[in-house]
């Protein structure tokens, strides 16, 4: 379960400061596939980065399974990214110097831990590559793959350590419509199979339509959330160790 309360973030300082998030509150139940839509600069990617522990909030609170992400230090955030989150970016999100297989294995090698649920890292990697249809491309270098294949490899990498949350930042931005549909279908299936919560940023209404829930943002705020059941501030069930909301 992801809970966001009053998330506020701006870039720059003083008069030139630009507000990216203006008190966004959102709750995503475990296993749900949520699509975030909105015009450029509305704050959807920023929200995704906050959820992934890539950026920090100025104000507000973010919880994943009751763990306060907004209070994590550098080391905790690194572990959080490794174990709890898988991220897929629009493009260029794999290292060009490594093979497809190596790229997928990378989070496991960096964490130096066993794969959750058993099996060796290599077995898990090859199984995932099979799942995304790249079983025969494991030893290929990235430049030998098409855009859709690259993004599927990225998806496999994001799911390697079976993270509870998968964040996708415009994963179909560089793909044609057929490849886009394939990648999102795969994203949804893999998410369902693994019980993964998925938050996807997209500009495409077609792609967004494949999600369980569509959240619309504008000017750093959630403006439309048909499936919203966002709790009131007093209803946020913060863990005992966390402090009370600041605003």
């Amino acid at each position: 379960m992801i809970r966001i309360y009053n998330a506020t973030k701006s870039y720059g300082e003083g008069e030139s400061a630009v507000a990216a998030l203006r008190g966004v509150s959102l709750e995503v139940p475990a296993g749900q596939f949520v699509a975030l839509m909105g015009p450029s600069g509305c704050g959807k990617s920023t929200l995704l980065h906050i959820l992934g522990g890539l950026d920090t909030l100025e104000k507000g609170e973010v919880y994943l399974d009751e763990r306060p992400i907004h209070r994590m230090g550098e080391h905790e955030l690194t572990l959080f990214r490794r174990e709890k989150v898988g991220i897929v970016f629009q493009s260029f999100n794999l290292l060009p110097t490594l093979t497809v297989e190596e790229n997928v294995m990378l989070p496991g090698l960096l964490s130096n831990k066993d794969v959750p649920g058993g099996g060796t890292l290599r077995e898990r990697t090859l199984a995932l590559l099979d799942e995304v249809g790249l079983g025969k491309r494991a030893r290929h270098m990235l430049h030998q793959l098409s855009g859709g294949e690259t993004q599927r490899a990225a998806l496999a990498r994001a799911l390697l350590l079976k993270p509870p949350v998968l964040l996708a930042d415009e994963p179909t931005g560089n793909l044609d419509s057929e490849a886009s549909a394939n990648v999102v279908r795969m994203l949804r299936e893999l998410g369902r199979n693994n019980g993964t919560t998925i938050v996807m940023v997209t500009h495409s209404r077609e792609v967004a339509g494949m999600a369980d829930r569509l959240v619309q943002m504008r000017d750093g705020k959630v403006v439309d959330d048909p499936g919203a059941d966002t709790p009131a501030p007093e209803a946020v069930s913060a863990p005992a160790s966390s402090s009370a909301p600041t605003a």
């Binding site: 990617s45 980065h49 890539l54 970016f89 260029f92 060009p96 490594l98 990378l106 960096l110 990498r157």
Partner: protein, 876 residues
């Protein structure tokens, strides 16, 4: 300018890199120029206003020549001069260069003035009294100031009859009275030909003073000098030829009437001769200083490349607004020039400061190996400054051209789209490889041409081609290393594998940094190996040639002046208790084929018995006695190479008793004289030169005698006769190596600066790499890499850069050492250097380089690991 302000530290590093290269170049130019100018200034003072000079080139000649010159119909006035260099026993390493002048005939020629301090001229009658009083002396004010002396103080000077106290009666002002000169010129129509500044070289005179003249110069009456210092004969006759008459014609007229080893010529030719003599030494320093500039040029390349990487978006915007590629190139070239000019300005300033530090050691080296010179003033040649500005700006332009062109050619869409940069160098590795092979072949060919046909300066071209050749190998070698390591460490060390991947993919940036590192390391390894080999060769030679137990010579030898040993001292040494044999040694300078060379003499027969001298053409015990008997000479290897003389050749040698045709009996290794050395048996020397002078004595102890006891005995007994240095065999070897190391001390400074510049290059390169890989690092962090892991990846890559740089640098250094030893040395000096490899130094060097680079990389690596991940990955 805003870009510079935003990247202040980096701009500072760039400016500093150029500045250091320029610093080394400028300092060497200033030191070289100051040495020549100081010597010229001293010639100006000694030669006075003369436009004709008669000199024995170090040997004194018969006074009977004076009337011959004075009475020549075309000579207006002439004056005799005796010069001696005397040590000051109370001031270590200090000496006086005493000019004994004839007060009556000297007036029209003199270029000094006696004062009572504060520039107050002395009454002429008192001046006359001073010059004829053997107990009074006048010193230059700078020397007095430095030694803390004033008028009225006493100073001890060494004489052959022991130390003698002299009272400082006046200050000596080295210059000439312009008003008197004007009067004289008005009345006699004499034109100044000596002190007229050479427009190309600038003037040595500043107002009335002759600036830069040796502060050790002093003046006494000629008879007093001859008597006090047992200096019979004349060192020089100075003359003014009547207006309208040619000094060259007078010289041609007088020359046949003088002994063969006495020369009549205009005094300025002496300066030119000295410049030729030290020219090779100075040229070598200049060439080495240029290597630092080359390293600096690599740095500038990276500087501009950094700017191109950082400002891709800006380039894209400007291009999309209609700016032409050449305008983009001009922007980057102009920015590079701004930094280059700042570096040149700072470099010139630092160069002057460094010159001040180097001048002492260069002065000592020139005095020890070539000619006594004391440099008190730094002369900044406008040509050196212009050359520094020109070289600096040209180097910056050349280095910046390629990245600036690269910037101008970036497609607009690609420029506006910040992602992973494409590696272009990968496509060209084969071309780089063959380019490198071509450069090495060119280095070999140029070396051969330099050795067999000349000119000698081509040998530096060989070194340049060799360095460039190895630099060309950097991209293919990097790629080979990356391919070799690629994938090998993935499962056990993923960080290393990622680093290897980066390393192989960033050849365009890494190659330049590695090339700079290779050049700097090559300089260190090349010079160190050459010096190591040279030192080993000298050591072997010392073991063969220095076998006596005790050595005695006048103290002045330590400042590069060979004074005679009094006969009494020779007798004391010969008959000292425990001494079984004494080897007498005499050394003079002679002219051979228009060049100054050394001629030494000792008893050949005795030397064969007592030492293990090596003669290349056969056993010394056969060749030396035969040479002594038949009146043959032997020449050093350096002489043989420089003059292209072989065993069996017959050489015309100028002696006091006329020119003699002497057969070369053989060649021998020698490390005492770069000018080249001829040896002749003592008995023949005395017969032909009519000179009984001895400069040093080597004493052999009896089997059970103590060398220390002999030294103690001598110190006590010879003290009344002057200042002498008495060395044991070990102490003399120590002294030889001290002089050896001093000779190369400037090169160590040059090496250090080269290393500092390449260290700056590594830091700069890493900051570029980090900037280029912001997104990649962001992705790694997003994938769960910790800050420490990112730091480790960057440090691994740095270690790879340093290791490849170190190994290629060592290879290039070995090549450079070979060129220094067997091409440049042979072209200029002709020393015999037997190759020796400093294994310990070379095996430890890569470790030091890697360690230093990793330490230097720590800060950029930490910065990289701490970057905002969201910002980094957002750059699409």
């Amino acid at each position: 300018m805003r870009y510079f302000a935003r990247h202040g530290v980096q701009t500072l590093l760039n400016v500093l890199g150029v500045a250091l290269g320029i610093t080394v170049f400028v300092s060497i130019q200033i030191v070289n120029y100051s040495a020549i100018r100081s010597f010229r200034a001293s010639v100006d003072v000694v030669a006075g206003r003369a436009n004709l000079e008669v000199t024995g080139d170090g040997l004194r000649f018969d006074e009977a020549l004076y009337p011959l010159v004075r009475n020549h119909p075309d000579v207006e006035s002439a004056t005799p001069l005796v010069e001696v260099v005397v040590p000051l026993p109370d001031y270590k390493g200090e000496y006086l260069q005493v000019m004994g002048v004839d007060v009556f005939s000297n007036a029209p020629l003199r270029t000094y003035e006696l004062t009572e301090g504060s520039d107050r001229a002395v009454d002429p009658s008192r001046a006359l009294e001073f010059l004829s009083d053997p107990n009074q002396i006048g010193l230059t004010e700078p020397l007095c100031r430095r030694l803390g002396l004033k008028i009225g103080d006493e100073i001890r000077v060494s004489t052959p009859r022991g130390p003698r106290k002299l009272r400082i009666a006046f200050m000596l002002r080295l210059g000439h009275d312009r008003s008197k000169e004007a009067q004289r010129e008005q009345s006699q129509g004499v034109t100044d030909q000596v002190l007229e500044p050479d427009p190309a070289e600038g003037s040595t005179s500043d107002g009335d003073m002759v600036v830069g003249a040796d502060e050790h110069l002093t003046v006494m009456d000629i008879a007093t000098v001859q008597d006090l210092f047992a200096a019979q004969g004349l060192s020089r006759i100075l003359a003014i030829v009547r207006p309208g008459y040619s000094p060259d014609k007078v010289a041609a007229d007088l020359q046949p009437r003088t002994p063969a080893n006495v020369f009549v010529r205009p005094p300025d030719r002496r300066g030119q001769k000295i410049e030729r003599m030290v020219g090779a030494f100075q040229l070598n320093l200049t060439a080495l200083s240029l290597v630092s500039l080359l390293v600096g040029a690599f740095l500038i390349y990276n500087t501009v490349a950094t700017a191109v990487v950082r400002r891709r978006t800006e380039i894209g915007v400007l291009r999309s607004l209609g700016m032409t590629p050449s305008q983009v190139r001009r922007i980057f070239l102009a920015e590079a020039m701004l930094q280059g000019i700042a570096g040149v300005v700072v470099g010139i300033g630092l160069g002057v400061l460094l010159a001040g530090q180097l001048i002492g050691v260069v002065s000592k080296t020139i005095s020890m190996h070539y000619i006594l010179v004391s440099i008190q003033h730094l002369f900044i040649s406008p040509w050196a400054v212009a050359a520094a500005v020109g070289l600096g700006c040209f180097g910056v332009l050349v280095a910046a051209w390629y990245p600036a062109t690269e910037a101008s050619r970036v497609p607009i869409v690609q420029a506006l789209h910040t992602g992973f940069l494409r590696e272009k160098s990968l496509r060209h590795t084969r071309a780089w490889f063959w380019g490198g092979v071509g450069m090495l072949i060119a280095a070999f060919v140029v070396a051969q041409v330099s050795l067999h046909q000349g000119p000698a300066w081509l040998s530096f071209g060989s070194a340049l081609f060799m360095l460039l050749g190895v630099a060309f190998f950097v991209p293919p070698v990097c790629l080979a290393v990356a391919n070799l390591l690629r994938g090998r460490g993935f499962y056990c060390n993923v960080l290393l594998d990622i680093a290897v991947g980066h390393f192989g993919r960033s050849l365009h940036r890494n190659s330049i940094t590695i090339a700079a590192l290779v050049t700097a390391i090559a300089m260190v390894v090349g010079i160190s190996t050459m010096i190591f080999s040279f030192r080993k060769s000298v050591e072997v030679w010392l073991n063969q040639s220095i076998q006596a137990d005790v050595f005695l010579s006048p103290a002045s030898t330590l400042v590069g002046v060979r004074m005679p040993i009094p006969t009494e001292v020779i007798e004391i040494a010969r008959h000292a208790p425990g001494v079984t044999a004494a080897d007498l040694y005499r050394e003079i300078r002679i002219q051979f084929r228009g060049q100054t060379v050394k001629l030494a003499t000792f008893d050949f027969t005795q030397a064969v018995r007592l030492t293990s001298l090596t003669v290349n053409e056969g056993p010394a015990e056969v060749i030396l006695p035969r040479a002594a008997k038949e009146g043959q000479i032997l020449v050093s290897e350096s002489f043989s190479r420089k003059m292209k003389v072989r065993s069996g050749d017959v050489l015309p040698i100028l002696t006091t008793t006329g020119q003699r045709m002497l057969t070369v009996a053989g060649t021998f290794p020698d490390y005492t004289s770069e000018m080249g050395l001829i040896i002749v048996d003592l008995a023949k020397y005395r017969e032909w030169w009519r000179d009984d002078t001895i400069n040093s004595i080597a004493l052999y102890a009896e089997r059970n005698a103590s060398a220390q006891a002999i030294q103690d005995y001598l110190r006590e007994k010879v003290a009344p006769y002057g200042e002498f240095t008495i060395f044991s065999n070990l102490a003399l070897r120590f002294l030889v190596f001290k002089i050896f190391d001093q000779t190369f001390s400037v090169t160590y400074v040059l090496q250090t600066v080269g290393i500092v510049i390449s260290a700056l290059g590594i830091v700069l390169n890493l900051s570029i790499l980090v900037n280029e890989r912001r997104r990649e690092i962001g992705l790694l962090r997003a994938a769960g890499a910790s800050r420490q892991q990112v730091v480790r990846i960057i440090l691994w890559e740095t270690a790879l850069i340093a290791a490849v740089g170190a190994f290629l640098g060592i290879a290039a250094g070995m090549g450079l050492a070979a060129i220094l030893s067997y091409v440049i040395n042979m072209s200029y000096f002709g020393w015999t250097i037997k190759w020796a490899t400093p294994w310990l130094f070379i095996s430890l060097l890569p470790l030091w380089v890697v360690l230093a680079s990793v330490i230097a990389a720590w800060i950029p690596a930490r910065q990289a690991s701490g970057m905002n991940i969201a910002k980094a990955v957002k750059q699409e």
